[in-house]
Symmetry: C2
Subunit: 188 residues, 2 copies
């Protein structure tokens, strides 16, 4: 099972302000740039390549707050699990779209693999960190908004394993966002 | 006076481990990569473009710890000021190479400009943050090592001004380091 990260950060690596805000993300970049060649910076192509998604509770609550209609829902074909020990039911506007999971991550991934899933989208800082520490993340695509926050919630929490990033790729988009792609290998 | 940042960070934006260590920087990346096209990732070209340098005390102490010979000294043509309120004399191995300064940053830059300097290299996390908050940084070149630290000393401290990053550029080198370049504009 391939596990990929696809996430936006500030130029200095934060996924949100200290209070969880992401307004800076939506206001960052040149609004007048010609993005006709890559209007979504690869998001839809990435989503089409995954068949399941695992996110944390905060990530789910952020998505829930957008109150997306069925037409706006970006993951119609994707099996979604939300990791939480504190919440057992998703919010009403995500009922039927996501499934809560409080068990062992490795077991979840084994089950998903056994049921034929091949590529998982791992989302949310704490969830990504947990997957890295289990040496499960294979690929990271990080889209850096052209803004410096100076402080906030960092993408990664405490990493307890040696992480080697290889086959680096980088592209600057006309709106001044920069997208970085790495493959992840573990150990020495 | 143009002021530029040229600094290395981890993939997640730290300039050092929590205890100030940078061993991860020297061990990161593919040691077998063919770097013949750009062996120094642009460092010498950058150094040749600056005529003065302003760094913080910690940055000076790190450079001092390298115990460079005159032949190894990378800044022979560059006027260097070290900002410190606590140290009034440089360490013996930097005597004659750097000058201590405890005054106002804006005044220092005005003096340097009045004496014909045109391009300053600003180095060290605290110094860079102070210059950003004075809206003095014009350009940032950040070379990201292909390693995740998970925690450490972030490049930027608290930013109290709106920073717009424009004209983004990015390149991935064969050794998996990624270099990002921004111009900096301030205000809305």
């Amino acid at each position: 099972m391939k596990c990929s990260v696809y996430i936006a950060t500030s130029a200095d690596g934060y996924i949100a302000t200290t209070d969880g805000g992401v307004d800076w993300l939506h206001s960052a970049g040149d609004p007048n740039a010609d993005m006709s060649k890559n209007p979504d910076m690869g998001f839809n192509r990435f989503i089409a390549s995954v068949d399941c998604m695992i996110m944390g509770r905060k990530c789910m609550q952020a998505i829930s707050s957008f109150n997306l209609t069925d037409e706006q829902w970006p993951y119609p074909e994707t099996k979604i699990y939300v990791l939480s020990h504190s919440i057992i039911k998703p919010p009403p506007n995500l009922t039927g779209k996501v499934e809560m999971y409080s068990g062992d991550i490795t077991e979840l991934m084994q089950q998903l693999e056994a049921s034929g899933h091949k590529h998982a989208y791992i989302d949310g800082g704490a969830t990504i960190t947990a997957f890295i520490n289990l040496q499960l993340i294979n690929e990271m695509i990080i889209t850096k908004a052209p803004v410096i926050l100076g402080k906030g919630i960092p993408l990664f929490g405490e990493i307890n394993t040696r992480v080697n990033l290889i086959n680096s790729e980088a592209v600057a988009f006309p709106n001044d966002f920069i997208q970085i792609k790495y493959e992840v290998h573990y150990g020495q």
